[in-house]
Symmetry: C2
């Protein structure tokens, strides 16, 4: 039997695999063939990672997933129309959350933890509201509420970073995710080295998918007139994490999330930007474990 | 030999003692006889705790100090004119920081970590600026910068909590330090039980000392016209911690500290107030250890 077959037949063997060695697997729902990778020790609630704008499964950091996989299952996936998943990418965060739920249901899971980065964190908020029974805890990294501050459009200096061409295109993430300091830039280059290691990587996100998700982000970012009432309805515990100066979704939005989600804890890192969890991956893993493993709040 | 003599003669024995069992010791500087308690394992940089308005050594939480003392020395003290230390309490944060440095110098220590709560966190900021070589890292709990938001005066509803009379006067801290929820109130009552355990406790802070320190707090809180330039000059790593809704020093000031101190990390807890570290003492100890033990940032 090939390792792939073993993995599909016996989940207890998922802890034989790592971020770099686990095979891509597929599950079908609503006519979409969702590509995913599932690995780590079974037993605790699995963590589903939800990716950022223009990212695929391959943009997740093995320095985060592998240590977390020591004692829980990690599930990475490409949403509809992204990377190795077919279909047409969605134009609203609501629909992206709906598709994420389809995917989780198709895996037969009844409860998951969610870790969403940037637009992925918007999907996490929406999913927690749409399907509260499906979601145990939320980790919201470099993200903001619907209609948060400075979220209607990217600053021009940030917008141009998303269309800039590089010899190796993944270098675009250096300026988007890391701060303009030597230490942060070095952390960014180390991150790129880590995500380049896997041999069978997804292709880049298509222009069509980027366009659709760009629309979704703009609609989500529109100033809303209802304040942040949605956040008050998130009953789950949340861990909110960001860098000190997020140029994509301004850091103040992480503070706003913490102030409005009734049971939210905030961690902000120094000398960092939109990808602070990549930069401080050891501390971030410690924070995630502290948060995911603590007993539920009392009755 | 009595345990006191042992302790004074041999610092290696300080790890025999705990928050509740270590004797109060005295050291003299500038005509002041500073009362302090020193315990914990020697080797790492000692942590000096700096107390809040109307608090003495006895208001520190053994659920924080004892676990930290497992692998470092803890030093609690009463500043000039407070508790078991003689002299006349100071009317400025600058002078309180100056006295704290006198005390640390008198102990013969050349480098310490500082943990300051509320007004104690103001003293920590000042001391880091006055004597940068003396201070390795800062932990700033429930505090704010000079001239922070809403710091010029207490809200009337908060001010009255500081003068309210209780059958057991330490119950004043329930409403000042904890949030108006069942869980937070229960955490507050557990904290009071913990600090009541020690038999030879300091007397209450005198009206004169409270008056002097009240003046110091008001002067510190006055809106300043220079922005937060002082914070930019703090070169040490800082950990900033607060509750989600601090009624004494509004939580936004913790965010401001993180945004302006060049190397600061922020942790905010949910469902909590000015004493969030007492409420989430296990998590706080984990955060403090993560922060104090991480390697120094690179060159």
């Amino acid at each position: 039997m090939s390792p792939d077959v073993l993995q599909v037949e016996n989940n207890d063997l998922t802890d034989l695999y790592t971020h770099d060695t686990v095979s891509t697997t597929y599950v079908e729902a609503d006519g979409v063939r969702f590509a995913y990778r599932r690995f780590g020790r079974t037993g605790k609630t699995p963590v589903v990672f939800i990716q950022h704008f223009r990212g695929t499964m391959d943009n997740h950091d093995p320095a985060i997933t592998d240590p977390l996989a020591d004692d829980r299952e990690i599930i990475l996936f490409d949403n509809r129309g992204v990377g190795a998943t077919n279909g047409i990418a969605r134009e609203t965060v609501d629909d992206m959350a709906h598709d994420t739920a389809l995917f989780i249901d198709a895996l037969g899971l009844s409860t998951v933890d969610l870790l969403g980065h940037s637009m992925g964190g918007e999907v996490v908020q929406m999913l927690a509201l749409q399907r509260p029974e499906l979601v145990r805890r939320l980790i919201l990294v470099g993200t903001g509420p619907r209609g948060g501050e400075g979220m209607a459009t990217l600053k021009p200096s940030t917008a141009e970073l998303f269309v800039k061409q590089y010899e190796r295109q993944d270098e675009m993430w250096l300026a988007i995710m890391f701060a303009p300091s030597e230490t942060s830039d070095a952390a960014g280059r180390a991150y790129l080295e880590r995500i380049r290691r896997r041999p069978d990587r997804d292709g880049p996100v298509t222009a069509e998918a980027a366009l659709a998700h760009g629309t979704a982000a703009r609609v989500w970012g529109r100033p809303n007139t209802e304040g942040y009432a949605d956040l008050r309805r998130i009953a789950q515990s949340a861990l909110v994490v960001n860098g000190s100066d997020d140029i994509v979704i301004p850091t103040v939005n992480s503070f706003i999330l913490q102030q409005h989600i009734p049971n939210a804890k905030l961690v902000l890192y120094p000398d960092s930007n939109h990808g602070a969890h990549y930069q401080f991956h050891e501390d971030f893993v410690a924070q995630a474990k502290l948060f995911l493993d603590r007993p539920a709040p009392g009755p």
